[in-house]
Symmetry: C2
Amino acid sequence: MEALPAGAARIADVATLAGVGEATVSRVLNGHANVRPATREKVLEAIRALNYRPSSVARNLSLRRTMVVAVVLPWFTNPSAVERVRGIVGAIASSPYDLMVFDVESEDRQRRAFELLDRGDRADGLLIVSMLPPDPELKRLRAANVPCVLVDAQHASLPSVVVDDVAGGEMATRHLIELGHTRIGFIGDTPPEFRFDWSRDRTRGYERALERGGIELRHEYVREGTRSLHVARSIASELLRLPDAPTAIFAASDTQALGVLEAARSLGIRVPEELSVVGFDDVEVAGYVGLTTVRQPLFESGRRGGELLLRALAGRPLDAHSELLPLELVVRGTTGRPVRQQSSVKASSSSPA
Amino acid sequence: MEALPAGAARIADVATLAGVGEATVSRVLNGHANVRPATREKVLEAIRALNYRPSSVARNLSLRRTMVVAVVLPWFTNPSAVERVRGIVGAIASSPYDLMVFDVESEDRQRRAFELLDRGDRADGLLIVSMLPPDPELKRLRAANVPCVLVDAQHASLPSVVVDDVAGGEMATRHLIELGHTRIGFIGDTPPEFRFDWSRDRTRGYERALERGGIELRHEYVREGTRSLHVARSIASELLRLPDAPTAIFAASDTQALGVLEAARSLGIRVPEELSVVGFDDVEVAGYVGLTTVRQPLFESGRRGGELLLRALAGRPLDAHSELLPLELVVRGTTGRPVRQQSSVKASSSSPA
DNA sequence: CACTTTGTTGGAACCGGTTTCAGTCCGGAT
DNA sequence: ATCCGGACTGAAACCGGTTCCAACAAAGTG
């Protein structure tokens, strides 16, 4: 008579069929002790018969726990962000937690995301990537006792996984200086309000390297634009058309460095003979195009962040310690010694292939 | 005296403070009609005063709706899968739904994911990428009335977004044949049980192209391996060391094609002079290394799948129609005419090693 | 003025679990 | 035989919303 189940079985159905109380079914489900083996068997039998599975929503409500970890990040379109997410996925995969992704491309969406999250009823923990939540949100998160870990961002009151962007910027720039460059351009990132300002730190590293190298900072060499390939390309074009154009450019991200390479190509400027280019990140393509860059462990940053969060969720206390991941200069084919040029006399025909 | 809230405000608190019933608060929250303006204002005032925000879990339980869309996919590590996810994120971002990601690298995790999902209490809809859920799960999903859309997979009872893999395989192979190649190798994918078997279709396309081109199929040219760069590389090495080695290789994915390129490089075989290579997908790196490949709209497939699912969630019926996305051969630098080699004199008539 | 309507409202019953708490049943000790 | 503690068990009170339904007031109708 009841061909179609008309909805999944509830715990009450199991209890009825097994001839026990709901509490007992719950105890069996959660492996609590003190259930007589015979009773347990009856319950399991009923569960099997009804193909019963508890509703996780109801469970969440009752336990005040969701078994979900949320990742909040701006620009999921960014390849380096994706790499971090992959690390996070890797870390979370072997845990009982599931993953929710919030791509907050605008401040509006950011607010919405945190409104959902800061009560702690949508996710048990947060991984915040490459951005900083506004302070009121942080307060609420703390009040709701939702552990957070920052990845590629830093805050006095939160644990984080970062790299030393100042050192990285300096590393890249020093490499160019050591090769003999003195006219070194920089293409940075204009951070939206809500994003973490790592670009600024790389700029500082750039400035510091120049200073230590005894090279005067030229403001017309320092430009900012959104972190996109084609914006970087047009900025690079301007830079390269300067009367006294730089012989090297340090771009604050690989994506932007690729834009610089395109600009050079379309202007007929040869790399690295006439222009050296350094990027930052070491995304996959960097290896394929032979881009010299500062490698930061993107995947690892996500994995590590995930681990820290899991640890916090497991109840182990988590201090606001900031974990520093190593940077490494990867020298490939886009950097070389500058040619002595006044009016681009002769391109050295005996350049290293 | 109550400095710390000791937990977020509940609807009851709002009701009390506003001096109305809970039902009325709920009406105000959900914009129901028939609430006197004065009452509404009192409630809003109380909400503001308490900084109240409804618990989404409680809401979910009551409404039997989660406002979550889940993406289930094997191998989040795969760049083409990531590209699809980005398309999905793009489509979902502009909707009221949030996104959950289930990376099911093993059958075990797959089962777990569907156990969570098939009751429909964790997500309102599913996007299943590059895999096929087992039939019992599909039944449960249908019973629970959870709409599903397949991306890069096909099933008689479900709507899907796909490409014509047979045509794609044929397209790639025909390109090689038209260039004059007759000894064409194929490196395919060994699909785990639970994954959708597109590799098989590409193999069929390969076979069909050979047939139509009047070229005899040589089984020693057809190999399978997991979809990874280094496995493909070692397979390619074997292929290239064959006494009568192929002059061209069609790899069922760009990742594998990159492995082939590496194998060629380490064997000192020049591409495309001595070996032509065609991939499949057109991931970002393909453009940078100049790989000839069959482009499939990865991002678009995710976006389109997301759209279809949103439509279904909006109540519009959704038939099991399969949406076909276009393929396009992108000729770059890894394919060319074969050179006449002397060591092998008319291969097909003599004995195959 | 009595008698529907119609517009607002709050009590209470859900949604489907977990957990407290009080009770039952039992063997062992006095 | 009586008492006591511990092992099991189920009714009921949560978790925090939504919504049915009955109640009641104000307004419209005869």
